[in-house]
């Protein structure tokens, strides 16, 4: 009997404590929640509303439009190419970035005398802002005076030609993601206890199996994080299209959902179109993120 009573009071005590901590948590979260409400949730809701409304060029809602904006957007002949470019960038960017950063991290993993030099070199792209990088790459890719054509002895048109424009953008976006992702991969690899790697050496596990069966599984949480953030970033790519491709004759070869949205929203003030495009990109990204969480369930090992 006494045990039961004790248990009951124990439970209410715990409950009271939990309510107290919950209150505290909300209080601590309040600033960011306010911030999010103003800058994230309101624009989001407004975008959803816009997509179903008739919006004039000043951004004022003039009436309910039903699915008209959607029909209009998906019916445009530049929508499908934009969708295709967006998906291509994600599909190429994410695996290549993962491959490059994991490889670089594996190469740089062992502490050597020159390690700080490699590490700094590989991490450098991080310190360059997207727009600065775009300007630099624009001059490097320049068909006539660019460094890349000169160095590799190429005669490619890069951003001025329909065939190569998307490749130029891909090279730039991949380069941009490498710095930070490399850093994440390297620190994850270095966090694996030395003794585990030594155990593979004593056990005669060859480097190939060590990498694929031990090291990569052990850094899988980081790989998953990089995968998700890269996916979102790739889906949202727009800066290179606007800064590099802007006035190029090949601009249509790289249009993404986001750059199309930018054009429609800021240049043409077609807010209905812009809203539908951003919601489409959002839903796509959401879908991929959910898919990657399925991957997480199966492949990601948390310590």
């Amino acid at each position: 009997m006494r045990g039961v009573v004790a248990m009951k009071t124990g439970a209410t005590l715990k409950h009271r404590q939990r309510v107290k901590t919950r209150k505290k948590v909300f209080l601590l979260l309040l600033p960011i929640l306010l911030f999010a409400a103003v800058f994230i949730y309101y624009p989001f809701v407004r975008t959803v509303v816009n997509s179903f409304s008739l919006v004039n060029a000043k951004g004022i809602i003039k009436g309910f439009a039903g699915l008209d904006n959607y029909a209009y957007t998906y019916g445009r002949k530049d929508f499908l190419p934009a969708l295709r470019h967006t998906l291509t960038i994600a599909a190429v960017n994410v695996p290549i970035t993962l491959f490059i950063t994991i490889s670089l991290a594996l190469l740089a993993n062992k502490k050597r005398r020159l390690s700080p030099v490699y590490e700094t070199m590989f991490t450098l792209p991080m310190s360059v802002s997207m727009s600065a990088a775009c300007m630099i790459f624009k001059s490097m890719f320049s068909p006539s005076v660019g460094f890349i054509n000169y160095f590799f002895g190429l005669k490619l048109g890069w951003y001025e030609s329909q065939e190569t424009a998307l490749s130029a953008v891909l090279i730039l976006t991949i380069w941009m993601s490498i710095g930070f992702d490399f850093l994440l991969m390297l620190s994850a690899l270095r966090a694996i206890p030395d003794q585990i790697i030594e155990a593979t050496r004593v056990d005669g596990i060859n480097p190939f199996r060590r990498i694929f069966k031990v090291q990569i599984p052990l850094i899988s949480p980081t790989i998953f994080y990089v995968l998700c953030t890269n996916l979102v970033l790739a889906m949202m790519t727009s800066a290179p299209m606007i800064i590099i491709m802007g006035v190029s004759s090949a601009a249509s070869a790289t249009t993404t959902l986001m750059s199309m949205m930018y054009q429609s929203g800021f240049s043409s003030s077609d807010y209905g179109l812009a809203a539908v495009l951003s919601i489409s990109a959002f839903l796509l990204t959401l879908g991929f993120t959910i898919l990657s969480f399925v991957f997480e369930r199966k492949k990601v090992h948390y310590q």
């Binding site: 030594e198 056990d203 005669g204 899988s220 090992h301």
Partner: protein, 395 residues
């Protein structure tokens, strides 16, 4: 078949860039007494031993004395700076760990955290040559020996320390290595589990019959497990011998103090030669040296001189008579069968171990703290050490 010979092995760790200040480390830090050369710190030197096939050798010594370094050189995880390492008569200095036919158990288990217990053990076996059935048989056999069959599908995270250590040992024995290296495998376990695992290691050793090289800082483990013990200090071997030899005939004061618990008591005394016979002047009491030691000391050319006298706590006994040295009782530790008396004698703390009960199983209650007692010892229980070098004078 796996004999292991270490000949004049030396290890120098090159100085690490940006760690120069470490030389100023206080002297109680591990490794502070290691020799430092301009090539770096000498973690191990002059290491010579011939380990026989199926022998169980324990490297023991205080933290930082170079045990792990030695073991890692044998494993091939650490480069050998100088000297030769032979396994089965073959020089293996330059051989990869995988080609040395060894298995190693690490202090922190080093299990693959993302694999099940089964996979942890099977991982190293999965090579093109072995069939699935054979791997399965080996894994289950090892699991059976170690009593971990029921955890085969679990991940290490969900196991207790003792179970993890068993898995680590299992991972080593499935490969049926010629030699088994263990670096403080029990030091992460609590005292009770450690005792239990120690007994299991002894049993295991009978079953698997390979050469064992075992590192520990715990002298009890060394005494109970080893066929031979290698006592190390500051990168040097102090003594190699069977547990009995090391206990009975420690080569120097360090070994005498390190092996045996509670620690041996050391006193300043004077060795006097009278009519061809040595005796020890201990605080005015003259104690004759036993004949055997007397003979050896003469052969060693020992002269009358101040010395260090070593007496194990259990060779001191309480006496009623006031003819004997007197000490002040400090702390009294009741250990069950024995009582440890911490005594103060001439400003020195010493320990005396005595039975808690008399012949009639009555508790003796006359060890009150803050009282005075008299103690004596037998001549044959004396250990005599050179006051400067610490060398045992009678071996």
């Amino acid at each position: 078949m796996a004999s292991v010979s270490l000949r004049n092995i030396k290890k120098i760790y090159p100085p690490v860039a940006g760690e120069k200040k470490k030389h100023l480390s206080p002297s109680d830090e591990p490794g502070a007494n290691l020799e430092k050369t301009d090539r770096g710190i000498v973690a191990v030197q002059n290491f010579n031993i011939e380990i026989k096939d199926k022998e169980f050798v324990v490297l023991v010594g205080p933290s930082g004395c170079g045990k792990s370094t030695t073991l890692r050189m044998i494993a091939g995880l650490e480069e050998i700076t100088e000297g030769e390492l032979y396994i089965d008569g073959k020089l293996v200095n330059e051989l990869d760990p995988k080609d040395r036919d060894i298995a190693m158990v690490f202090q922190n288990y080093a299990l693959y955290p993302h694999m099940t217990v089964y996979d942890n053990m099977a991982f190293a076996l999965r090579k093109r040559t072995s069939s699935k059935e054979e791997i399965d048989r080996k894994v289950r056999e090892a699991a059976d020996i170690l009593g971990i069959t029921e955890y085969l599908d679990r991940k290490p995270k969900s196991l207790s320390g003792g179970q993890r250590q068993r898995v680590a040992i299992g991972r080593a024995i499935v490969r049926n290595p010629k030699s088994m290296l263990m670096d403080e495998p029990l030091s992460n376990l609590d005292a009770k589990l450690r005792n239990q695992m120690r007994a299991e290691l002894i049993r295991l050793r009978k079953k698997i019959n390979t050469t064992f090289i075992y590192v520990t800082h715990d002298q009890t483990e060394a005494m109970t497990l080893g066929d031979r013990i290698v006592v190390m200090k500051d990168g040097f071997i102090q003594q190699i011998g069977t547990p009995q030899e090391v206990f009975d005939k420690p080569s120097n004061q360090f070994v005498a103090g390190f092996i045996g618990t509670p620690q041996m008591n050391f006193f300043h005394a004077v060795l006097i030669e009278e009519n061809g016979h040595f005796c020890v002047d201990f605080d005015g009491f003259k104690v004759p040296v036993v004949d055997e030691d007397n003979r050896r000391m003469k052969a060693n050319g020992v002269k009358s001189a101040p010395i260090i006298l070593g007496l194990r706590p259990d060779s001191l006994s309480l006496v009623e008579s006031d003819q004997y040295p007197i000490a002040h009782v400090g702390v009294v530790e009741m250990m069950g069968t024995n009582v440890h008396l911490h005594l103060e004698f001439k400003g020195k703390d010493i320990i005396l171990v005595t039975q808690a009960k008399d012949e009639n199983q009555h508790l003796k209650l006359d060890y009150e703290s803050d009282s005075m007692i008299h103690f004596s010892f037998l001549p044959q229980s004396m250990y005599l050490f050179d006051i400067e070098t610490g060398k045992n004078l009678a071996i």
